[in-house]
Symmetry: C2
């Protein structure tokens, strides 16, 4: 018998991504988000949600671009810091010791130190309630050569992304390999 937990954002797992944008003065900024995910294959799109009160909200609307920066677990403190502080008050890149690189494809900065980054052109926004969804068309993905497989794809065991657990508010890393998708279920069918 299941226990009812009420109306809460209790989905698992959630990502930990740092959203890069330029503000109205051209200062690069980062917003840590756990509300997001891939939302379309063709064209490849990723969505992230922000409250209108955040500094990044107006920046992305104005520049119509953002980046999704995937921190490895070595950057857990920096990722958390960028979710606590506001770009109105501080230069998060400088405070966290991160380097902002201007994307050559969209009007947004990415984090040079992070293993995997996604450059997005804003496709549309969706008002869901207290959060606005920013849906970005992926115009390129960039990765550190050291995290790539022999086939040139990012190896999750080398990227080592973080996971956020809502409400309990913990971070975890990636665990054991469980199997190949579109494969291990074939024995049932």
């Amino acid at each position: 018998m299941k226990k009812s937990l009420g109306v809460q954002t209790l989905a698992q797992p959630c990502p930990v991504w740092l959203v890069g944008s330029y503000d109205s003065e051209g200062k690069p900024n980062l917003a840590t988000v756990a509300w997001g995910g891939i939302c379309c294959s063709k064209p490849p799109c990723v969505t992230i949600s922000l409250r209108p009160a955040t500094h990044s909200h107006a920046s992305i609307l104005a520049r119509k671009a953002f980046t999704v920066n995937v921190p490895g677990v070595a950057f857990a403190k920096q990722a958390d810091y960028c979710g606590i502080s506001s770009g109105r008050d501080v230069d998060k890149f400088a405070a966290a010791g991160l380097t902002a690189v201007k994307s050559d494809l969209v009007d947004a900065p990415y984090v040079d130190e992070f293993p995997l980054i996604i450059e997005c052109r804003l496709q549309q926004t969706v008002e869901v309630g207290g959060h606005t969804q920013f849906i970005g068309e992926i115009v390129d993905v960039k990765a550190d050569p050291g995290v790539l497989t022999e086939k040139g794809l990012p190896d999750i065991e080398k990227v080592r992304p973080m996971i956020f657990t809502p409400v309990i508010r913990t971070y975890h890393g990636i665990g054991d390999y469980l199997g190949q998708a579109f494969s291990i279920g074939k024995e049932i069918g």
Copy 2:
């Protein structure tokens, strides 16, 4: 120097969720998705994306309800199977040995064997391209008592959700605890 990987859905990590719905004949069905995430805090909302060709797409539009079922790693094969097969051809619940329970709150079934489930009323749909986003308002979260912490919240180390890596198409489990969010970054600020 980062390497360009082109336009691909290479975000990490992605969830593995089974979306529950009833089809036009009242048959419970499951669609495995990795395109999704929480998208709003107030009201709590979760989004999942489906192609119009899927059997679940029409079902959710008709019933305006769905569930998000979080499989523990013990159900990796069943989760994969429900992403390979179609509810047009088979009864996925029966084939996978899973039990459909009718939600008492929304017109959709959930998976009795899974540790964590989210019941959703369809708030809106968003056409992104080849996929439609289904945004669901969370009307309840239900969990197995055995996965709850002392405070009554789902412990991710007991739920043991799965992670999907796009393009490479691998499944992984949850790894080590890294720290507390909204806390470990304070030493930077």
